[in-house]
């Protein structure tokens, strides 16, 4: 433990050279920017930076990459809160309460809480990474395909009714999400599914196009119809931009809880980051002392998820740094960045290049501090954007959305999809359907499917062998129990309701 602290301090020292600090600032700035702009993600930003970094010393380049990686998670919430457009999967759930807060003139508070929560949970996650990485990485290997299947299924069962409204409507949206997730070629057999002969659909629907359409374009269209609701122009004083004492007090416990929850869920490969935000939302909603506020701008619903994704982000560095195995696409890119500088993260890195290893870890702490310093003043700037009259703001947002959507694959087909999902989002919104379950289905569907198929091959096609695995079996049994319990409770409640009606 004490040797870890010593190494960390020497890592800090090597980070604090002007060159490395500059790299860190550049990295987090680019990261924040890519987070703020919908469409442009970590993957795109890193891909552009990789070739530009050839001339830099390895440590400096690594520090810059890590800055981008962390920074993007900070910026992600901005558009979710301001205009209801999630920049990536991990900010989808922030839209629910964040945008409601913005409508009430508390956008600044939401943004500030998101930044503070990101800092707290991000730092907690980094601490977890510093002290437990090798241990956790070993544990993560115990998770094979059957476990992914089980945990994703359990997640689907626990989270599908996240809005707490009609279970039937939520189930319907989950189903649609699962179905959209199957579009494209089957990863196991290569057969095309639901592509209707369009080669553009071969690789499935770009997730971010779907959310930008459903949420962003759908929201813009909807607000044309609801213009009377949102007043002419928002008037607020500068002091009101930042959270008041009451809001801060309510936000702190969710941040710490999300720090732990997000870190644990982030260790699961694949959609861990996004799922951690949904899980945190569900948890905070259950624990909340103000249940009536949920859906109308509960600040805990911003503080929790926005913190959770940063802790999860740090957790995803665990397998990357200690095993050399990226568990998501941005991690894969980060690994590529390491490799072109001749650095192979993994079991050997800590012993062969300890200076570099600890410099990277230390840069994560510094990056978090820098991000807080950069993001808090930006809160005022971003929140002030809402002072722009809506008839000017919305067209600009529309242009930015379309540009961002086009930039992902430089594909006009994607713009068509964006409009299509915009129309669907608009109709669903008017019909009062909840979009969050659809996103959950879309995210977990592919994990459930590949996990099940791989798991079945591994267990020679015998589902009982799957159930006999300790981790997978337990999780599946819990899921089964939850379903039974929900059905039982529903029956009990309907009987009770009938009795009171009779009495």
């Amino acid at each position: 433990m004490s040797s870890t602290v010593g190494s960390l301090l020497s890592g800090l020292a090597s980070c604090l050279t002007p060159m490395n600090m500059f790299a860190s600032v550049v990295g987090v700035l680019i990261g924040t920017l890519t987070g703020v702009l919908p469409g442009l993600g970590i993957t795109g930003a890193l891909a552009l930076l990789l070739p530009a970094s050839y001339g830099l010393p390895p440590a400096t380049a690594m520090i810059m990459f890590c800055g981008v990686y962390y920074g993007a998670m900070y910026g992600g919430s901005t558009t979710s809160i301001l205009v209801n457009i999630p920049g990536e999967g991990a900010s989808v759930v922030t839209c629910i309460e964040g945008y409601e807060m913005a409508k009430k003139g508390r956008a600044g508070a939401a943004l500030a809480v998101a930044a503070i929560g990101s800092f707290i949970a991000g730092t907690m996650g980094t601490i977890g990474l510093t002290f437990f990485a090798p241990l956790l990485a070993k544990a993560a290997l115990a998770f094979g395909p059957p476990e992914y299947f089980a945990i994703a299924t359990l997640g689907l069962i626990l989270l599908f009714n996240i809005s707490g409204k009609s279970p039937l409507r939520s189930a319907l949206m989950v189903m649609i999400g699962l179905m959209i997730g199957t579009i494209g070629f089957d990863p196991m057999t290569g057969v095309s599914r639901f592509t209707m002969g369009m080669i553009e659909l071969e690789d499935g629907i770009e997730f971010i196009i779907l959310t930008m359409g459903l949420y962003g374009v759908g929201e813009i269209l909807a607000s044309i119809c609801e213009r009377e609701e949102r007043g002419e122009m928002m008037k607020f004083k500068f002091r009101d931009l930042y959270p008041n004492r009451e809001e801060l007090k309510r936000s702190l416990p969710p941040m710490f809880r999300a720090g732990i929850l997000g870190f644990l869920i982030g260790l699961i490969p694949g959609p861990g980051m996004t799922i951690s935000t949904f899980a945190s939302y569900a948890l905070e909603k259950r624990l909340s002392k103000h249940p009536e506020e949920w859906g109308h701008g509960a600040i805990e619903g911003v503080a929790g998820p926005e913190s959770a994704n940063n802790a999860a982000n740090a957790a995803q560095m665990v397998p990357l740094l200690s095993l050399g195995l990226p568990f998501n696409s941005s991690g894969a890119l980060l690994l590529a960045g390491f490799m072109i500088h001749g650095v192979a993260p993994g079991p050997m890195l800590m012993s062969t290049q300890p200076d570099l290893f600890w410099a990277i870890i230390a840069s994560l702490y510094i990056g978090n501090v820098l991000l807080l310093i950069i993001n808090l003043p930006l809160v005022g700037v971003f929140a002030s954007l809402l002072k722009i009259p809506i008839k000017i703001l919305l067209p600009i947002v529309m242009v930015v959305t379309f540009t961002g959507a086009y930039a992902i694959n430089s594909s006009l087909f994607d713009l068509g999809l964006l409009i299509l999902f915009g129309a669907i989002g608009f109709i669903l919104k008017r019909a009062k359907f909840d979009l969050a379950p659809l996103v959950i289905g879309l995210f977990l569907g592919p994990t459930i499917e590949t996990g099940l198929i791989q798991g079945m091959i591994i267990s020679d096609g015998n589902f009982m062998t799957l159930l006999a695995r300790p981790l997978a079996g337990t999780m599946l049994k819990i899921g089964f129990a939850v379903i039974l319990f929900s059905i039982g409770r529903a029956i009990y409640q309907s009987i009770k309701a009938r009795q009171t009606a009779e009495a």
């Binding site: 196991m188 894969a332 590529a336 050997m348």
Partner: protein, 334 residues
């Protein structure tokens, strides 16, 4: 009433946007100078049919960067992913053949042709310019396992048909092909498990969920170094230069007569002026022998290897034929 009008207006808006998106995709990619050819006079676009960050993308960016030095003009990488590489490949094929649009060409394009995702045979419809890099696949097992050689592995597989689960990546891709060729040549029965990316397969191998994996050398590299993974053989024609792999025999040396090599090259639309093609070929050969390029390619885990247009085309066609034959026999394609 007013509200209804609004909803209708909005729906009209959606429709008009949809129409705008559908129309107008006409390409206007610079004018061709027929009289006198001074090439290159402006930036060259290199289309990559994959998403940013993969080895194809990174290799293309390396080619672009080094080629700039020798061309005197910037080379801009444009990612056009989707449709199992067909979207990017079509974009190259349909571009103006003036030398200002080129594209990366790799084994991945085979999959879309073999699986009939596209009606176009890219090996015929594109102009292969140069082979830039190759990579074999490696068969490896967990170090805890009892198998020290391919023969021991095969012996066990013969005694216990279907018991060994072997991980590989994309269906119809190079690792799948290597696995199929190995099982066919050795006459064994092992179950293939498709993983989304080499890292996931390695994680499953380290965790003991699968018993073997057929992946590219770079996927195993650090685990070979830390002795968690034992490479048994590789699918190349000759051994790898990497000190970690220099003691690993090729399958041919081990007595299994097959090879499978993933290739990465550059192609262009057909019908380029001869001078332009000659210039491209010349520059790419220089690039491939550039030390900066060689180092960058090795860092990506590939082996730099140049081949001239004809030789590259030959290799492309032969590989495609092999893919079609093996995957048809295997029943992966009908």
């Amino acid at each position: 009433m007013n509200k209804k009008l609004l909803v209708v207006t909005v729906l009209m808006l959606i429709l008009s946007m949809a129409l705008t998106a559908c129309g107008g995709n006409s390409a206007s990619q610079g004018e061709q100078d027929k009289d006198e050819i001074k090439y290159p006079e402006k930036a060259i676009t290199m289309i990559v049919p994959n998403s940013p960050g993969g080895s194809t993308d990174l290799l293309a960016r390396t080619v672009a960067k080094v080629a700039e030095k020798h061309l005197g003009q910037p080379v801009i990488v444009q990612n056009k992913p989707g449709g199992s590489t067909t979207i990017g490949a079509n974009a190259v094929m349909n571009a103006n053949p003036d030398g200002y649009t080129i594209g990366s060409a790799n084994t991945g394009m085979m999959t879309s042709v073999v699986f009939k995702k596209s009606d176009v045979d890219y090996a015929q419809e594109l102009e292969p310019i140069a082979l830039m890099a190759i990579s074999p696949q490696v068969l490896a097992v967990n170090s805890d396992s009892e198998w020290k050689t391919v023969d021991e592995f095969v012996e066990y597989a013969k005694a216990n048909p279907g018991k060994i689960k072997i991980g590989h990546t994309s269906v119809g891709g190079s690792t799948h092909m290597a696995t199929a060729l190995f099982t066919e040549t050795a006459g064994i029965e092992i179950e293939g498990v498709t993983f989304d990316g080499g890292s996931n397969a390695v994680a499953a191998l380290l965790g003991g969920h699968i018993q073997a994996a057929m992946l590219s050398p770079v996927d195993f590299k650090q685990f070979v170094e830390s002795e968690q993974v034992r490479p048994l053989a590789e699918t190349g024609e000759e051994r790898l230069d990497d000190p970690l792999y220099k003691d690993v025999p090729t399958f041919k040396e081990a007595g299994y007569d097959f090879s499978e090599i993933l290739f990465q090259g550059i192609a262009a639309p057909k019908g380029m002026p001869d001078e332009v093609k000659a210039k491209l070929v010349e520059v790419l050969e220089i690039v491939c022998n550039d030390d900066e390029f060689k180092q960058a390619v090795s860092d990506l885990g590939l082996t730099p290897k140049y081949a001239a247009p004809d030789e590259f085309k030959q290799m492309w066609l032969e590989t495609q034929e092999k893919y079609e034959r093996v995957f048809t026999e295997l029943g992966v394609i009908e």
